[in-house]
């Protein structure tokens, strides 16, 4: 297990195995039984909050939804904090830069001026609604961001989660900031920096496809550029 904040200290622990034991169970056992100074983060323990994400044997995962026998058939676990974010201590990362990029990608809903008083009706079968639905279940755990090699190469790239969020809003019929949002992600730190490696889609615990969302943004950008809006 990686300790401290500079990545140089590695501690080893022997943890008793239990049936159906999760990686989060292992981390919790270490903190309660072996080393109370261990810092890690969790909340719901059932795959709803996304706060227990760590690097498990080289892959970013939710530790609460990862069983030891699946992640480590030989019983050896290597636990590190998520990649691409500053380490606060041990297994805890600072997610502020990650969420700052959601803001930079205009990931905030900006209602149209002409929505009226009543609820807006967005029929489920419309193409925009379908596209938004396919990407909307993101809970912001940062697994895709940690899995992304482009973020590792250039730290100013907005990353798959922020762009996936932007894609849901581009397809939201109630949103009025479409042009500003496309302009915000049109530069080379936005969707055009994506190499379509698909690591985000491969590792997303919610089985979303930020790769498809980013491809959608590239198409939307192309259409906007052809209309002379960018």
């Amino acid at each position: 297990m990686q300790r401290g904040s500079d990545g140089r200290r590695i501690d080893r622990f022997n943890v008793p195995r239990q049936p159906a034991q999760t990686v989060l169970d292992v981390v919790t056992w270490i903190q309660r039984e072996a080393d109370p100074t261990l810092a890690y983060r969790f909340a719901c323990r059932v795959g709803m909050c996304g706060s227990c994400a760590m690097t498990v044997n080289g892959k970013p995962r939710w530790t609460c939804r990862t069983r030891v026998e699946r992640a480590a058939p030989d019983g050896h676990l290597a636990l590190e904090p998520l990649r691409n974010m500053p380490v606060v201590k041990d297994l805890v990362v600072d997610m502020a830069p990650f969420f700052a990029k959601w803001t930079a990608a205009r990931g905030v809903f900006s209602p149209r001026d002409d929505l009226g008083e009543d609820f807006a009706v967005v029929p489920p079968a419309t193409p925009g609604r379908r596209a938004a639905d396919a990407a909307i279940e993101c809970i912001g755990c940062g697994v895709c961001y940690a899995a992304c090699d482009v973020v590792a190469w250039r730290s100013d790239y907005l990353g798959p989660a922020a762009l996936n969020r932007a894609w849901t809003l581009v397809n939201d019929a109630r949103d009025g900031a479409g042009r500003e949002r496309l302009a915000a992600i049109a530069e080379d730190t936005g969707c055009h920096a994506c190499h379509s490696h698909g690591s985000c889609t491969q590792h997303c615990p919610k089985a979303l496809s930020p790769t498809a969302s980013i491809a959608g943004l590239k198409r939307a950008m192309l259409h906007a550029a052809m209309r002379g809006e960018l």
Binding site: W153, A186, D188, G190, H192, M221, L222, A225, L230
Partner: protein, 109 residues
């Protein structure tokens, strides 16, 4: 700017995909038939169809290559800014001049 470059990159890629296939197929057919350089030049000389094809090919390559190289340089070396863009324009013009010169040579041979 990035969106427009992306548009040019994708458009030129579509042209190049077709042009490279025609180019490779022509090479293979020409070599299999045992044609000499002189015989090939005899066929291309004065042929407006091949001249137009290779002119389009050269323009597509001159648009496509510098945009891709610019992206690679920005990502891997961090070299960006106006000087980088200016060097890419020089690269594009060089490709265009060299390519058109070769196309003209084959046409006017």
């Amino acid at each position: 700017m990035t969106a427009r470059l992306f548009m040019l990159q994708r458009g030129s890629a579509a042209v190049l995909a077709l042009a490279v296939l025609v180019h490779l197929a022509t090479i293979i057919i020409a070599v299999r038939g045992g044609l000499t350089a002189g015989e090939i030049l005899g066929r291309t000389s004065g042929n407006l169809g091949w001249f137009a094809f290779y002119t389009v090919f050269v323009f597509a390559a001159a648009i496509h290559a510098p945009i891709g190289l610019r992206t690679i340089l920005r990502e891997w070396t961090g070299w960006r800014g106006r000087f980088c863009d200016a060097v890419m324009v020089v690269f594009a013009v060089s490709l265009l001049v060299l390519g058109l010169r070769a196309t003209w040579a084959v046409y006017a041979a």
